[in-house]
């Protein structure tokens, strides 16, 4: 892990020089390099170097102040850091847990989708509704066959009786019509 960070650190120190502004003697080399792909950038030659210089100074100063505070608390005076942590315990926990973004995401997105998929889509829609309909068709067929099967008693007298009743019914239909 450290090795990868070292490689990235070297890169971050060097890479900035590719876009060194004209104020510091550079020439927007990187933008020039991309020109064949994106076309020439609208050149803002007239930008006063004053604004550019102020921006540079402010950002460097902000970085230096940050480094200064960090080195005071973590290198020079560890106790002050601990005191700070004690005084702002709530803020510290919030920061330590990355504003609880992961937890909020898990509770509002991940778990609802998981529970809905598992208890709703899978166990109800898929197993009960869709597959229930499929198996229901099968059960209807076997169930009604089970009923009709009872007619096949194997008893010749019952068959003869139903034959006789059938003849009576048909004759009756033609005679009474």
């Amino acid at each position: 892990m450290a090795l990868a960070l070292i490689a990235l650190a070297i890169g971050s120190v060097v890479a900035g020089y590719a876009g060194l502004p004209t104020l510091l003697g550079g020439g927007d080399w990187f933008a020039r390099y991309l020109e064949p792909s994106f076309g020439a950038a609208p050149v803002a030659e007239v930008v006063e170097h004053g604004l550019e210089g102020t921006l540079m100074l402010v950002s460097v100063a902000a970085a230096l102040v940050g480094i200064g505070i960090a080195s005071y608390y973590f290198l020079k005076n560890r106790r002050a850091a601990d005191e700070m942590a004690g005084r702002f315990a709530g803020v510290r926990t919030l920061l330590l847990n990355k504003y609880y973004v992961d937890e909020i995401y898990d509770a509002t997105v991940v778990q609802p989708i998981r529970i809905l998929s598992q208890e709703g889509l899978w166990k109800v829609v898929d197993v009960k509704v869709i597959d229930g309909a499929v198996n229901g068709v099968g059960q209807t067929v076997t169930g009604s066959s089970e009923l009709v099967r009872r007619l096949q008693t194997g008893s010749v007298r019952a068959y003869a009786a139903s034959l006789f009743l059938g003849v009576v019914a048909i004759l009756g239909y033609y005679l009474w019509r």
């Binding site: 989708i113 998981r114 998929s117 889509l121 898929d126 499929v134 099968g138």
Partner: protein, 521 residues
């Protein structure tokens, strides 16, 4: 006459099956010989399909290696076979996966090895037959012949609930295909009313202009048979059961090839035979496909069983294929055909990996595993590559097809593409989450601590799968080149038919129109 190579591809596995019948001796002694014969036959078939690919003229969109013999002339039934770019690579895929499926079952199948090998070979033959048939009657015979060996493969060599799963598989797919049979007979009759002679010749039936009302019913009959096979939401519930209960070889072939029968049927039969009806129903099919993509992914995400997870992921991935087909443009359909091949490779690979884990631990529950990375590093590496291929990582096979499909869908209707694209994210969620729980973290179950890494036989199984996954990701043109001309021809036919119908409807009322007539060329 040249050598009938397509017939030989269908016949060779049957010959092999007969050879196996001659092997005598009890299970112990005959099993090694049986396995070797079956493997050799299937490798020979694969070599033949490669030869077919080498001699295939990729620039032509016509059917090639055509063989045509009268069979039942009174009914216009012929033995009429041929391949075009759409079916060619599906043949190669089938022949590629069969030996791997046999090898993958080397350890797990211990009873009745002979019958097992015979069924796998017969299944291969029937699947090949489906892809090369250009006569609808012949097609239907192969289509149903395919069910029988698979029924026995699941029913005899499956897991605990195998009987339930195999009967459900059989009845569900039969119910769909019976309606298709009616539509096929109806088509032959329409050809009779239009020309005075029966015919099941697909190319002649393509040229039939069928009454719109009839087209609707015929299209629905075909589409239902294919939608069940795909399986398209909500006709998918046979799939998780069949996949989970099937032995590894069954799952590999089922997911790798048989699901593509449905999407192949849509491309080859349902859409070009009934173009106007297809154009009418395409949006509805596309919506079902997109629902299937998201629904399959969400349900896959919460499965505790690895095989079931992969099964539901197939519902999601096949949704992409159907979406590409319904878009009916070059990108969509080419992407769909590409995705059929790609899904065969990556899902076949996943089932092989899950089979290897299940051979070792006799369980497929995700919670039973954990921390395998330290114990079986090579197996896990292969697992990772195939997982990424299934997700559609650029550089591997899954990306090309999904990308083309989304592109095609976007050109048709951006809303569909937008919803379908969420499936890409969800596929990463369920696959990586499963991978994480199985392979990373501490070894929580001590039964896992002594698992062995890849055996030589397993290396032989998994390396070709990974090689093809990389090849399809890096050199997609190698595979797209033969596909595209045939897709173009199909699309031209389709759009022309839809356009002329719109014109014809404007010119005269449809009430006095005949049921069917031949299209003007």
């Amino acid at each position: 006459m040249s050598f009938p190579i397509l017939t030989s591809i269908v016949a060779l596995p049957v010959v092999g099956a007969f050879l196996l019948l001659l092997v005598k001796g009890d299970e112990e002694r005959s099993a090694p010989l049986v396995r070797n014969i079956a493997l050799m036959v299937s490798v020979l078939v694969f070599a033949e399909t490669l030869l077919l690919w080498a001699r295939f003229n990729a620039a032509s969109s016509d059917f090639q290696f055509v063989e045509r013999h009268a069979w039942m002339p009174a009914f216009g039934i012929e033995y009429f076979v041929g391949v075009d770019g759409i079916s060619l690579l599906l043949l190669v895929l089938t022949a590629f996966l069969t030996p791997l499926a046999l090898l993958g079952s080397w350890e797990s199948v211990h009873k009745q090895t002979k019958a097992f090998s015979i069924f796998v070979l017969l299944l291969e033959s029937a699947m090949m037959g489906v892809f090369i048939s250009l006569d609808l009657f012949l097609f239907y015979i192969f289509w149903d012949a395919m069910l029988v060996p698979m029924y026995f493969l699941i029913g005899i060599w499956g897991y605990d609930r195998r009987i339930y799963a195999s009967i459900k598989f059989m009845l569900y797919t039969m119910a769909g295909s019976v309606l298709m049979l009616l539509a096929i007979l109806g088509l032959a009759y329409l050809h009779y009313t239009a020309t005075g002679g029966y015919s099941f010749d697909l190319l002649k039936l393509y040229d039939l202009q069928i009454d719109l009302h009839l087209q609707f019913w015929f299209f629905l009959a075909f589409a239902l048979a294919f939608a069940i096979k795909v399986p398209l939401f909500p006709f998918h519930t046979w799939l998780p059961d069949a996949h989970v209960e099937a032995p590894t070889a069954g799952s590999v072939i089922l997911a790798g090839v048989m699901l593509k029968m449905g999407t192949y049927g849509l491309v080859r039969f349902a859409f070009p035979l009934f173009p106007e009806a297809a154009a009418y129903f395409a949006p509805a099919l596309a919506v079902l496909a997109v629902v299937g993509i998201i629904y399959g992914a969400l349900v896959a995400m919460v499965q505790p069983d690895m095989k079931k997870l992969v099964a539901y992921s197939s519902v999601s991935h096949l949704g992409f294929v159907v979406l590409g087909i319904t878009a009916m443009n070059t990108q969509g359909v080419s992407g769909a055909v590409y995705q059929m091949l790609s899904h065969g490779i990556s899902t076949g690979g996943l089932f092989l990996i899950v089979g290897m884990l299940s051979d070792r631990r006799h369980t497929r529950q995700i919670v039973e595993y954990g921390g395998l990375k330290k114990i079986t590093p090579h197996l896990v590496a292969a697992f990772l590559i195939i997982t990424l291929a299934s997700i559609g990582l650029p550089g591997l096979n899954g990306f090309v097809g999904e990308f083309l499909i989304l592109l095609g869908a976007f050109r048709w209707d951006p809303r569909l593409a937008a919803f379908a694209a969420t499936g890409v994210i969800l596929s990463a969620t369920y696959m990586l989450w499963m991978f994480q729980r199985v392979n990373y973290g501490p070894v929580t179950n001590e039964k896992n601590a002594t698992l062995s890494d890849l055996q030589p036989r397993e290396w032989v199984v998994i390396v070709p799968v990974i090689a093809v996954a990389v090849l399809m990701g890096v050199l997609p043109n190698l595979f797209l080149r033969p596909i595209e001309p045939s897709v173009e021809r199909m699309l031209n036919h389709y759009h022309q038919a839809v356009a002329t119908r719109v014109q014809a409807n404007r010119e005269r009322p449809a009430s006095d129109a005949p049921l069917a007539r031949r299209r003007q060329p």
